[in-house]
């Protein structure tokens, strides 16, 4: 039992190590607002060499340089928008984890809604079709036959 709990402990600890940001450099801020902005920004910018990681998570040299650049830009008093524009001008919208809505990303943003709408229309049409088709009605003669068959069955029991 003790062994198992140890194993679980190790597994849990390794998960913590995995989830922590790779930023080894300690960035010092006098202004806590700037600090918060810094950590938020580096969490929104994609590392272009190690795609699918933010520059906060990545250990790549470029990610480190970009973190440093964001840091200096914040210290210089640049706004979040200015910093993002700077990155987009160099690395395209690709660098943003939340791409802006424009012509090339319209399908990306509207896609799920369009699919949802299409599915809804399909569903609606199907339901309406089902409601409008008459149920299988039987005439009197058939009805009598059914009853006769049922009675026959009951007599057998």
């Amino acid at each position: 039992m003790k062994k198992i709990s140890k194993v679980i402990q190790v597994i849990l600890l390794s998960m913590i190590a995995y989830g922590s940001p790779a930023s080894v450099n300690i960035y010092e801020f006098e202004d806590p607002v700037k600090k918060e902005r810094f950590y938020q920004l580096i969490d929104e910018l994609r590392c272009t060499v190690c795609q699918n990681q933010t520059i906060a998570e990545s250990n790549a040299g470029l990610a480190k340089d970009l973190r440093n650049r964001v840091y200096t830009m914040i210290q210089e008093g640049k706004t979040d928008k200015e910093i993002k524009t700077f990155m987009v001008e160099r690395f395209t919208d690709f660098v943003l984890y939340k791409p802006p809505v424009n012509n090339s990303t319209l399908l990306l943003w509207a896609g799920p809604a369009i699919l949802m709408l299409a599915a809804f229309i399909f569903l609606l049409l199907n339901i309406r079709k089902r409601l409008s088709t008459p149920t299988n009605e039987i005439d009197e003669q058939q009805h009598k036959r059914v009853q006769a068959l049922l009675e026959q069955e009951n007599n057998h029991d």
């Binding site: 272009t48 060499v49 470029l62 340089d65 987009v88 001008e89 160099r90 690395f91 395209t92």
Partner: protein, 177 residues
Amino acid sequence: MKLRALIPLIIFLALVILLAFGLTNDPKKIPSPLINKAAPDFSLPTVLNPEQIVSRSDMLGKVTLFNVWASWCAACRDEHPLLVEFAKQNNTAIYGLNYKDQRGDAIRWLQAFGNPYVSSAYDVSGNVGIDWGVYGVPETFLVDKKGIIRYKQIGPVTRQIIRDEILPLIHKLENEQ
């Protein structure tokens, strides 16, 4: 009724087109937003001489290649002989950006494999690299007479790229006034 039977086929074809598109596009290649924009300003000491400064203004007035390289970059070594050959055969100046390298290593590299560069800027911090949107070395930019970036190659240039893309564009740009 016949149309209904075609629906799976249509969905299948749509999927094939979508996947074909995804397979033929390399997500690592980000088109440079700097194309047709002014080359970012820089002013750095050269690799060979810390006292000498090379800057963007040196590149103005002629069509130039701007090649980002480093001694630690394996693909740069594959590309390097082509650049040396290019420099011998063409009048187009190649400026280098030595990216996040050690000066000693860079100098030894140029001595060992040849120096095709008019001069190489020594960007040890990688700051000029960021300004130019460099994210993978080697990268090669083609800059026109007015200092506007007209073409960018991410990754090593090949003989084919030089022949089919870079040289024709250089001829075109040289004829611009």
